[in-house]
């Protein structure tokens, strides 16, 4: 007993110490940042980038070096794992980083939205040493909506060409000559078949298919994504169809190329473990990771090409760009040049993640690093002559549409290339044809709107005051009034500030087109076109609604029934029941990201617990466990999430258990005297007595189901970023608000959600009439 008390005291003290430490730590940091802000003499530049630990170390070194040589300038370096989301949110917050990584693909979007500063190319002397192709990649011509000419919007820091990484040992064992001088896709297919035949654990190859490298595959078959403009989608032409067919043939007909589906699949890691013959198209960035391989030899070879077509390599390149909103343009450009300068280029060359954008560094030993793998490093540079940069549409939705359709044909094998090509074209043209993307709008008349809102508010307040004053009150009653309002004041203030006001603003925003990158005053008034787009042009909207409804229909009944059953079980008076209650309840305290990351590894179809347990049983019946978030995701992804929620059944269980304990024993006595069977007792006594609880839980369950976000966000992130079967409504909304920066459109979506929920709640209320029994409710 004393020991328990001592332990408890110790726990309390430890907790108190940790909390104190946290407050001191955070307090000190906040104080420091306030001091920094007050001390306005120093110029502070913020830099946002992505990359692994080594890349971080390089940027960190450069930044400190810059600070050392420029007294009075301080640099804050931010590193983001989910870079796009972070950058977009910072832009939306009106606090963009002064410098950030800009991918070539994002140039149209960022340049057109004026988010990047135009650089004075003439003032950058070292520009001559850069590969011209890369510099031109970051020039934007707003009239033609093309890159290649016009103002310079970023300085390329590095780039890569695309190659294939091959396992030399597997090639030798299969008797395939290493195609150092290039190979055709026919030769490739044959090689894959021969390597795959080496053993059940060996895959001939891996073909990467995210939009940029898929485009490379299409080019190498003599095809293209687009014609002369972005309305001319050429996926249905022979070259593109042949590229898709190649993937389908090798993955599904020959089964020689590994089809990585599902969550947390890592093909790159399979290569490292020696189970892949050839992997690509991949860039230089894989080299440092594969340099750690000791168990087999590897090298790089060119990408295959179609018979008669020229070899071609896509170029992936990233620039440092300066925000158009930077407060210190001069210092920012200085830092930009420093970060892209020779010192940094040499450092990152030695790291080996990319090819330096300065020709003199790329051609030097710093990059070629003789004696280190890959032996054929020259190939990365040779491919520049076959290098190609595709033009990209400003609307980034194209990649999403493409990604979804390609998943259907190339991963899940439930569409033909021709069908997928047609679907991409249809959806993309619909997107372009939407009034939101084709019509010109005027500014939102904010002055009028605000004036009208103020008048309405004033009228409402006046009438409220008038109503309140109508009745004369005594002193005590007045005291009650004042004190009552004082107590509920916090909530009323919160309601006005965080609910009512935002609802009004959200309704106004729903009628605008606004990116959040520009001031609110630049929002365009679009009337109801956001809703028109939503219902008539956005196919993802229907998809997101379906996923959400599917989840709701499964999750709400299953979880409630399970919770009631478990509660009945827990209500048994058997010895040791308290222990079981604990065991059943514990999982429900685990929620959020930790819950999802745990379950992701459980659902993994290769190394996960669930399928390892299911398969032995299912195999007896001639079945196979589903690939939950992969090929079977259309029907199984949502049930998997329901299963995950079911783990937390203890939360609902305790509520029902309390309900059960409140049912008077006399009711059961009476039922038994009447000869009711146990089942009958449940439906005649237990169910009606629990019905208010069930009703409450169903209403809250439906509302909760429509707001699923964290699970979907985290799982989508680990299954390759496009999984339309995980596109929950709120995730779709988040994407538009913070990824595609369509704040107006997202607001419209929020209101549609609100209306749907309101309608559903009313429906549940109506449907429950006569079913819900309120014992002892005074009318």
């Amino acid at each position: 007993m004393n020991l328990a008390r001592a332990a408890r005291t110790l726990l309390v003290i430890a907790t108190a110490l940790i909390v104190a430490w946290a407050f001191i730590d955070v307090g000190a940091r906040v104080a420091r940042s306030i001091v920094d802000r007050l001390d306005g003499s120093a110029v502070t530049l913020t830099v946002l980038h992505w990359g692994n630990t080594e890349e971080e170390a390089i940027v960190e070194h450069l930044v400190r070096e810059f600070e050392r040589t420029r007294p009075g300038v301080r640099v804050q370096r931010l590193h983001a794992g989910d870079y796009d989301a972070k950058l977009k949110t910072m832009l939306a917050a009106g606090t963009p980083p002064d410098l950030f990584y800009l991918r070539y693909e994002d140039v149209p979007d960022f340049a057109e939205q004026d988010m990047v500063m135009r650089l004075d190319a003439a003032a950058i002397a070292e520009l001559d040493d850069f590969y011209p192709m890369l510099v031109n990649a970051f020039r934007w011509d707003p009239d033609a909506q093309r890159t290649g000419r016009g103002d310079l919007v970023g300085l390329p820091k590095d780039f890569t060409t695309m190659v294939m990484y091959i396992n030399l040992d597997l090639f030798r064992r299969a008797g395939v000559a290493v195609p150092y001088d290039g190979w055709t896709w026919a030769q490739y297919r044959d090689a894959m078949r021969r390597i795959a035949a080496l053993g059940p654990d060996i895959h001939g190859g891996v073909i990467k298919t995210w939009p940029m490298v898929l485009r490379n595959l299409v080019w190498s078959h003599g095809g293209a994504f687009f014609g002369d403009d972005f309305t001319d989608v050429r996926l249905d032409e022979p070259g593109a169809l042949a590229a898709m067919q190649l993937v389908v043939d090798t993955r599904f007909t020959d089964r020689s190329v590994f089809n990585a589906t599902g969550i947390s699949q890592d093909e790159d890691d399979l290569f490292r473990r020696g189970r892949i013959g050839a992997i690509g198209p991949l860039g230089r960035w894989m080299a440092p990771r594969y340099r750690k391989i000791e168990s087999f030899g590897w090298d790089v070879v060119p990408l295959p090409h179609a018979e008669g077509a020229a070899p071609v390599s896509a170029i992936a390149t990233v620039a440092w760009a300066v925000s158009s909103q930077t407060k210190h343009p001069e210092q920012a450009v200085d830092l930009l040049r420093f970060l892209c300068g020779r010192e940094g280029q040499v450092m990152s060359s030695e790291l080996g993640l990319a090819i330096p954008s300065m020709r003199s560094v790329a051609e030097s030993d710093a990059f070629l690093s003789p004696g280190r793998k890959p032996a054929n490093a020259r190939l990365y540079l040779d491919m520049i002559d076959h290098g190609r940069l595709g033009q990209n549409p400003r609307l980034r939705q194209f990649d999403r549409i493409l990604g979804n359709e390609m998943q259907a044909v190339l991963q899940h094998h439930d569409a033909t290339p021709a069908q997928a090509a047609a679907a991409v074209e249809r959806k993309w043209l619909a997107e372009l044809a939407s009034p939101l993307n084709s019509r010109a709008y005027g500014r939102m008349p904010w002055a009028t709107v605000i004036a009208v809102t103020c008048v309405l508010l004033a009228a409402a307040t006046a009438s409220l005051v008038w109503f309140a004053r109508r009745e004369k009150l005594g002193a005590i009653a007045r005291g009650q009034q004042r004190a009552g309002w004082m107590f509920v004041g916090p909530w009323v203030a919160g309601f006005l500030l965080f609910v009512l006001g935002p609802m009004v603003l959200s309704l106004l925003l729903a009628m605008t087109k606004w990116s959040a990158m520009a001031p609110l005053s630049s929002a365009q008034f679009v009337g109801f076109d956001n809703f028109v787009h939503l219902f008539a042009y956005d196919e993802d909207f229907g998809q997101s609604l379906w996923v959400t409804v599917y989840y709701t229909l499964l999750a709400v009944p299953i979880i409630q029934v399970a919770a009631i059953l478990v509660a009945l079980l827990m209500n048994q008076a058997v010895p040791g029941i308290a222990l079981f209650r604990t065991a059943y309840f514990v999982p429900s305290v685990v929620t959020g990201v930790a819950l999802v990351t745990l379950w992701i590894t459980i659902f993994n179809n290769d190394t996960g617990l669930l399928n390892a347990a299911l398969n032995p049983a299912l195999n007896l019946l001639g079945l196979e466990a589903p690939d939950w978030f992969g090929t079977d995701s259309e029907w199984f992804a949502v049930p998997a999430l329901v299963m995950m929620s079911l783990w937390g059944v203890g939360g609902g269980m305790v509520i029902y258990l309390a309900g059960l304990k409140n049912i008077p024993a006399s009711l059961y006595e009476a039922a038994r005297i009447d000869g009711a069977s146990p089942v009958r007792q449940f439906f005649a006594v237990t169910a009606p007595m629990l019905s208010p609880l069930i009703f409450f839980n169903v209403v809250m369950g439906v509302i909760g189901s429509f707001q699923v976000f964290t699970q979907a966000y985290v799982i989508r992130g680990s299954s390759g970023g496009t999984n339309k079967d995980m596109l929950f409504y709120v995730l779709h909304l988040y994407d538009h608000a913070f990824r595609f920066h369509n704040m107006g459109y997202a607001s419209a979506m929020a209101w549609v959600l609100f209306v749907i929920l309101l309608a559903l709640t009313l429906l549940v209320f109506r449907g429950s009439r006569g079913l819900v029994h309120y014992e002892g409710l005074k009318a």
């Binding site: 947390s264 890592d266 305290v589 990351t597």
Partner: protein, 303 residues
């Protein structure tokens, strides 16, 4: 089914620890079978989590190996290091943990103070518009947070609070309908004579609230505190939207970044990181088990 359906009958009697009578034996055994079966299913993921977190890089991809040959405790140190823990001589820096603790503690305090104040107001004062206001408040429970998400974001942006912890803390100080409702139900049951006596002794409104009502409402405070703790500790969307700088991140964000960066390659570290993140909630549960299981009973939801 039979065993289950008669459950309430058994429980209706006072709990006596006599050995079960023979004719009930089969039922008891059946009950245990169900209890154990379900319990194993529910505990299995925990077992998997802990065992995976202690495996080596090689062992983790070997599905038939349930337990690590040698527990790799170093995985935890490495996972914590990658989540931002720095031990520098005597100084410990772990921004994600410090931030999460600060936000959680301030939210719990804010939520208890504000919700109890408002609940008390609704329960014990007669003022014009009270019932309308109460209905409006209950109705807002149905409002999806996404409707207000963007404007609230703009609101915090306009006061320059983006990338600070304030947007995560401040809203908790204005009360939450569900918790207000719970406090109101509780305060409404307190006998009027108690307040009357205090009033005669000359206690003011706030004194009655602080000296009489609040101390009485221990169980409700515990529930509100526990649920606020769990929600805030695990909240993901708000930190995702409001926080940018690495040193401002919370554990949930750090864990998500972790799974994006190292998760696929180092599942054992990811599992260790997940376990560390969920541990405080589990500890809290064991420390306050009584309140967890009683929560529904005293929540006033019985109507």
């Amino acid at each position: 089914m039979t065993t289950i359906a008669t459950a309430p009958v058994m429980d209706a009697k006072p709990r006596v620890k006599t050995p079960p009578r023979p004719r009930n034996l089969r039922r008891v055994l059946g009950t245990y079978a169900l209890l154990v079966g379900g319990g194993v299913l529910l505990i299995l993921p925990f077992f998997w989590l802990v065992s995976s977190s202690l495996k080596t890089d090689q062992e983790i991809s070997n599905i038939s190996q349930l337990l690590p040959a040698v527990p790799q405790w170093g995985n935890y140190a490495e996972a914590l290091r990658r989540m931002g823990l720095e031990v520098n001589g005597g100084a410990i820096r772990f921004p994600a943990l410090a931030n999460t603790i600060v936000v959680t503690v301030l939210c719990v305090v804010g939520q208890v103070v504000s919700s109890s104040l408002v609940g008390y107001g609704f329960a014990r004062y007669r003022f014009k518009g009270r019932d309308t206001l109460f209905m409006v408040m209950l109705a807002t429970m149905m409002l999806p947070a996404q409707v207000t998400m963007i404007p609230v974001f703009l609101l915090f942006r306009s006061v320059g609070w983006i990338d600070t912890l304030l947007p995560l803390i401040i809203p908790a100080w204005f009360g939450t309908p569900f918790f207000i409702f719970m406090f109101r139900q509780f305060f409404a049951q307190v006998p009027e004579s108690l307040l009357e006596a205090a009033r005669i002794d000359g206690a003011g409104h706030l004194q009655i609230y602080a000296r009489i009502m609040l101390p009485l409402s221990g169980p409700v405070i515990a529930i509100v505190a526990i649920y606020t703790f769990m929600f805030t500790w695990n909240d993901f969307m708000s930190p995702l939207i409001y926080l940018n700088s690495p040193e401002n991140r919370t554990l949930a964000l750090e864990l998500n970044a972790f799974s994006g960066q190292y998760g696929v390659e180092h599942r054992e570290l990811l599992m260790a990181a997940s376990f560390v993140t969920m541990l405080p909630c589990i500890l809290l549960f064991f420390a306050a088990q009584r309140y967890f299981v009683d929560s529904a009973a005293s929540s006033g939801m019985k109507g």
